[in-house]
């Protein structure tokens, strides 16, 4: 288990290897289908959303408004990342993103962008909404809630010891590519 704490420097990110289990602490920004499409189409990030040396979390959390105006995160597991594959590489490059948390992996373009820019893909356990909600210590802010709806908004989350596995590292290695090749070969033997 490696601790990966803010600031997420290039050095720290490049020291990670495919298969490493990490516990992430710091600030992350959620972003999924609507946000990725919006940025790809030239949309501007609201002031306050800082992706440089930051981490994007593919997540549509369940958030309950509290009487004092704050938000309580009651469920925060990852969404399937591959839907953002058309956009992710470009966003990593343009904004200097250091980490993408999600599930199910990403494709070759993201793999290439991770290698070029010093970024990793961090696979969280899909469906572990409660375990991961416990890692959210504070919901600092929300952006685009009205435009995109709660699941698709940019939520600014302070997380602590958030568990994930490095399945794409910054050196061109992808656990997804390896497991696919292995399972494909195994299947051809079993047909």
């Amino acid at each position: 288990m490696t601790k990966l704490a803010f600031p997420f420097t290039e050095e720290k990110i490049r020291s990670l290897k495919m298969g490493d289990e990490v516990l992430i602490s710091g600030v992350v920004f959620t972003g999924r289908d609507a946000v990725h499409k919006y940025l790809h189409e030239g949309g501007k990030l609201p002031p306050g959303v800082i992706l440089r040396d930051g981490i994007i979390y593919h997540c549509g959390p369940v958030m309950m408004p509290q009487p004092d105006g704050s938000w309580k995160c009651t469920a925060a597991g990852p969404t399937t990342s591959i839907r953002e594959e058309p956009y992710q590489g470009q966003i990593i490059r343009d904004y200097g993103v250091r980490g993408v948390i999600g599930k199910g992996g990403m494709g070759d373009r993201t793999l290439a962008a991770c290698k070029e820019n010093g970024c990793v893909y961090l696979h969280a356990v899909g469906g572990a909404a409660q375990v991961l909600a416990e890692c959210v210590k504070r919901v600092r802010n929300v952006y685009f809630a009205a435009e995109f709806g709660a699941p698709e908004a940019i939520w600014e989350l302070e997380i602590e010891d958030f568990p994930a596995v490095v399945t794409i590292d910054a050196h061109g290695n992808s656990l997804h590519r390896e497991i696919f090749a292995r399972s494909e070969a195994a299947l051809s033997e079993l047909l």
């Binding site: 369940v62 009651t74 597991g77 969404t79 469906g127 997804h176 047909l191």
Partner: protein, 330 residues
């Protein structure tokens, strides 16, 4: 002026004889509907069904997950993922909060007697979904496909989905499946023959198609998953029937020996692919495979594969004459 009205339902369905005033309701209005008391209790019972379905994994699924943990190598990525899944199951039940934040499509399977008011049931169910969403048991999950807007109510055209099944029995039973979008996206429908898969119109061809679905899904459906399959039907009924397979218990066996053999074989073979939980690599790729068959037109041969994630949220209740929950089905 108060009007006392006794709401009677079509026989053989008898209502609990709790007579309460129905203010400003004409006798005609009282007689036609399911009755305010029944509707109010029905909504409450459905909210409780939704709550439990969302926050508590059914026993058969939990058992299967625990068994898979024993089978995985200790300290492996697979074992650690299943440990987190198990912790999550306990936490969700304790906090009465969603097991997974994607509370998914809301699929109601309702068995009703002849003459039961399905329109009124649907209204009560929609109210229950909205109430459960406000309470946080469901995420605001319903998006207008044309405008992209999410109004937060969690209801809309096609949502929730109702499958009513009439039967010659006074019992009302309501089964609920919450199926997330991630696993929904890795379902697939194959048209046989399929040249690329060398799949002909026979059980071997079906096997090739189903295993291809497992291969392509990798970990994207949040495995270890469960397959619901229909051989035959048209494109719509094929998928629809494949999902009814999720109403079966994990440990049950198919009454058709050919399909039983196919189910067992695909489960074993899928686990030999080594995809593992979350696609991390491991011994447990699937927890179960359930297959049914339906007639088809000569020109078509579809194999429809629906993929259910480990967060297999499926529960059901039987309702008494007053719409109170009588018993739980899973």
């Amino acid at each position: 002026m108060e009007i006392w009205a006794r709401v009677t339902l079509a026989p053989p369905y008898k209502l609990n004889t709790n007579i309460e005033p129905l203010n400003r309701l004409t006798a005609a209005q009282a007689g036609l509907s399911l009755g305010k008391i029944y509707m109010s209790q029905l909504q409450a019972s459905l909210v409780e069904l939704i709550r439990r379905t969302s926050a508590e994994i059914p026993n058969d699924v939990h058992q299967a997950i625990l068994t898979s943990l024993e089978n995985e190598k200790k300290g492996s990525l697979a074992a650690n993922a299943i440990k987190i899944i198990d912790q999550n199951i306990a936490l969700a039940k304790q906090k009465s909060q969603p097991i997974c934040q994607d509370t998914g499509s809301i699929l109601f399977y309702v068995d009703v007697p002849v003459g039961y008011d399905q329109i009124a049931f649907s209204e009560a169910a929609r109210e229950a979904v909205m109430e459960a969403t406000k309470k946080g048991f469901l995420r605001q999950n319903s998006v207008d496909s044309l405008t992209g807007k999410n109004d937060g109510t969690n209801v809309g055209p096609g949502a929730p989905a109702f499958h009513f099944h009439q039967q010659r029995s006074p019992k009302v039973s309501v089964k609920l499946v919450l199926k997330g979008g991630g696993c929904e996206n890795v379902g697939a429908q194959y048209s046989l023959p399929n040249e690329k898969l060398h799949a002909s119109r026979d059980l071997d061809g079906c096997r090739r198609a189903i295993l291809d679905a497992v291969l392509q899904a990798q970990g994207k459906g949040c495995g270890p998953g469960i397959l619901g399959v229909c051989i035959g039907g048209d494109r719509a009924t094929g998928y629809e029937l494949s999902k009814t397979q999720f109403l079966r218990r994990l440990e049950d066996r198919n009454a058709n020996p050919e399909l039983d053999a196919l189910e067992q074989d695909i489960l074993k073979t899928s686990n030999e692919l080594g995809i593992g939980p979350m696609g991390f690599g491991g011994k447990t790729t699937l927890l179960g495979v359930k297959i049914c068959a339906a007639n088809r037109v000569p020109a078509s041969f579809f194999v429809s594969v629906s993929y259910m994630c480990w967060a297999y949220r499926r529960q059901g209740v039987t309702l008494d004459a007053g719409a109170n929950i009588e018993g739980w089905l899973y």
